[in-house]
């Protein structure tokens, strides 16, 4: 085990193991679990568990909350070395050559400034605004100052997509990609791209922490992961949260002036976000179960098929997928091909790839495709948008799939619901408000 592995990071060893490095003075040492009268507290994830849930038969205890990162028991000790920021000098870390729009430039300057002053920032950028490019200037400035940076996201696919882009933009900077499905060994790097769970392994490591899609599952409302963020960053550090749909809590923080905010209300190509069209039909579900589709929807699907544009159909539950697909297939009568996709689908990645390649014209899917996917010239139909499983954030995200490319910035977003419910109205309101803001900023 190398000394670098301990920099700003918890390394777990059993009490019986000995560390090979001579000078023990630089290590910070901690018992993995704190045992109290009725509960145990884990020193890695700071979660409290009742003893009954956490006992092992040999009078030991373990922490079930962070067990997916490797089990910690009362026989383990956590070691760390304070982050020394041992990085090479790079005179010009940014190897990306591209241009930012005026709005992007404004946000980019703000990020640099926040990074300089070690403050927190919410970057409220609409879907398809080009968020990653905005960060580049700030990252470059941080790397020059030997700062250690982390970009974390609750979603693995987002991390996987970010890594090659950053690798291309900062060719000389050392970077690592960490997530649960990875087998590569950990290495000490200046930039870490990881899932939010991996933050639990770090301790006072980062001078700049960026969280992409802060409002996504499982980060949203998870106290363990919130703790992970505050303990992974240094006491003096900057935190930048990126999202298109901030949670109620974040918005209230902004309103109370506790959190700085920067809006990026228009897309990089300058066109407006497509505003969803509501179709209200109280008995659509019953009709669908009988194999009927209402006229409005028929017309829109017909126009999509005739123009050859790809489209996604979102449903709220996995059980609906099959029934909906049967009805749609019957209606389409072989004019185009499509499939169903859900989270546990084994061919999920291949099906999405086929959609990208144009082999499928449509997919029937659940909320798994609400973020992080881009198809050119897409149209979207949401069946039962008033279902409680679609909150307004996911509806905004779904609408944000449409019109992301410069070639076809338009597209249809249709919400079919049985009645006007708050989530649908709010989602529409948010989109309209962002469009208005975008117009004013120009």
């Amino acid at each position: 085990m190398q000394k670098e592995d301990f920099f700003g990071r918890w390394v777990t060893l059993k009490k019986t193991d000995q560390i090979m490095i001579e000078d023990e003075t630089c290590f910070v040492k901690k018992d993995a679990l704190k045992v109290q009268k009725n509960t145990i507290i884990c020193n890695r994830c700071k979660q409290r568990t009742i003893k009954q849930r956490a006992f092992l038969p040999n009078q030991q205890y373990y922490c079930p909350a962070c067990i997916m990162l490797g089990r910690l028991t009362t026989q383990h000790i956590l070691y760390t070395i304070e982050e020394p920021n041992h990085f090479f000098d790079i005179s010009n870390p940014l190897t990306w050559e591209g241009e930012l729009s005026q709005n992007q430039l404004r946000c980019s300057k703000k990020v640099v400034q926040i990074q300089q002053n070690n403050k927190d920032l919410l970057l409220w950028a609409v879907t398809g605004a080009g968020k990653t490019e905005i960060l580049f200037a700030g990252l470059a400035a941080a790397f020059k100052q030997h700062k250690r940076v982390c970009i974390a996201s609750p979603r693995v696919d987002v991390c996987n997509e970010l890594y090659p882009r950053l690798k291309a933009a900062f060719a000389c900077t050392t970077m690592a990609l960490l997530h649960g499905y990875q087998t590569e060994k950990y290495e000490y790097t200046q930039l870490v791209i990881c899932t939010t769970h991996q933050l639990l392994r770090f301790k006072n490591a980062f001078d700049m922490l960026i969280i992409d899609e802060v409002d996504a599952f499982p980060f949203k409302g998870d106290t363990m992961l919130l703790n992970a963020v505050s303990s992974a960053r240094k006491p003096v550090s900057s935190l930048i949260m990126l999202t298109a749909t901030p949670t109620h809590f974040l918005r209230s923080q902004v309103r109370k002036k506790k959190l700085a905010v920067e809006y990026l209300p228009s897309r990089y190509h300058g066109y407006e976000l497509p505003v969803p069209k509501l179709i209200i039909r109280s008995k659509w579900l019953k009709e669908l179960q009988k194999g009927k589709i209402c006229n409005n929807i028929r017309k829109t699907i017909n126009t999509w098929i005739d123009s050859g544009a790809p489209f996604l159909i979102f449903v709220s539950r996995i059980d609906f997928l099959k029934d909906v697909n049967i009805v749609i297939e019957k209606f389409i009568k072989g004019r185009c091909v499509g499939e169903t996709v859900f989270s546990a689908d084994k061919e999920r990645i291949e099906k999405v790839q086929k959609m990208r390649d144009g082999d499928f014209q449509y997919l029937v899917t659940t909320t798994i495709l609400e973020r992080g996917v881009t198809f050119a010239g897409l149209n979207v139909l949401v069946l039962g948008a008033d279902d409680e499983l679609f909150n307004s954030a996911s509806l905004v995200q779904i609408a944000g799939r449409v019109g992301r490319s410069t070639q076809c910035p338009g597209g249809d977003v249709v919400f079919l619901c049985s009645r006007k419910k708050r989530n649908v109205v709010n989602a529409r309101k948010q989109i309209v408000a962002l469009n208005l803001k975008g117009k004013n900023k120009k």
């Binding site: 956490a54 038969p57 079930p64 067990i67 997916m68 089990r71 026989q75």
Partner: protein, 230 residues
């Protein structure tokens, strides 16, 4: 409030009239209905009398016919559930991540089955764990699953032997040599006793038949087995 151990969702409990009249304590459940249905129950279905695998008719499967040629008596294994995706994720969490608490999910059921089928005059012998595995896991998963029963440690793993079968393929498993020896310090007489071998998963049957030979050579009269999954 109860939460499902497999999906972390809430468990809706039904309190009906019959339950109120029965004056029973509410039974603590660990799985929601949906997750429970993901596990395929094998008993009460036609299955192979040798290993407990699911069959169309009640007859010996191909593998058990081979075992029958090598050993005279088959184990007559009772398996509660099929080893499917849900069972795989269960063992991933329980055995390999080491979440000991998960033994609760099947503990009651296993105890009920064993007490119904082999109630009196049987010794319950769990398949042991190698020293190295025990060091890492810090519990024996078989003893955990069957905890609450009076278990007799008649078997030990030979020192230096490591049985991590999950990393082997089928042929490698079948050609494995005898990993067990009789525990001479147990103080229990094996001669002329009936024995039920307990294990977590029956895959090829190799482990259980290795254990059965040791018991047979020590003089056991009848040998059966119970596993959670097949």
């Amino acid at each position: 409030m109860n939460y499902c151990l497999m999906c972390q969702g809430r468990i809706n409990e039904y309190f009906d009239f019959a339950w109120v009249l029965s004056l029973q304590q509410p039974r603590k459940s660990f799985l929601c209905k949906n997750c429970h249905n993901n596990f395929m129950i094998l008993i009460n279905h036609p299955n192979c009398p040798g290993c407990g695998r699911r069959m169309n008719k009640k007859e010996l499967c191909v593998d058990c016919k081979k075992w029958e040629k090598i050993y005279d008596d088959l184990l007559g294994n009772t398996a509660l559930y099929e080893y499917n995706e849900a069972m795989k994720t269960y063992f991933e969490r329980f055995k390999f991540m080491g979440d000991y608490y998960y033994f609760n999910i099947f503990n009651e059921e296993l105890k009920a089955v064993i007490q119904k089928k082999y109630s009196k005059g049987w010794l319950y012998v769990p398949i042991p764990l190698s020293f190295q595995s025990f060091q890492i896991r810090m519990f024996n998963q078989v003893e955990a699953l069957f905890s609450g029963l009076k278990l007799t440690d008649l078997l030990v793993v030979k020192s230096g032997e490591k049985i991590q079968q999950s990393k082997l393929n089928r042929r490698e498993r079948l050609t494995m040599s005898q990993p067990f020896i009789l525990n001479t310090h147990s103080g229990v007489k094996v001669e002329a006793t009936n024995i039920v071998l307990l294990d977590d998963i029956y895959t090829t049957g190799r482990t259980l038949y290795h254990a059965a030979i040791i018991m047979k050579n020590a003089g056991a009269r009848e040998i059966k087995s119970i596993t959670l999954a097949r």
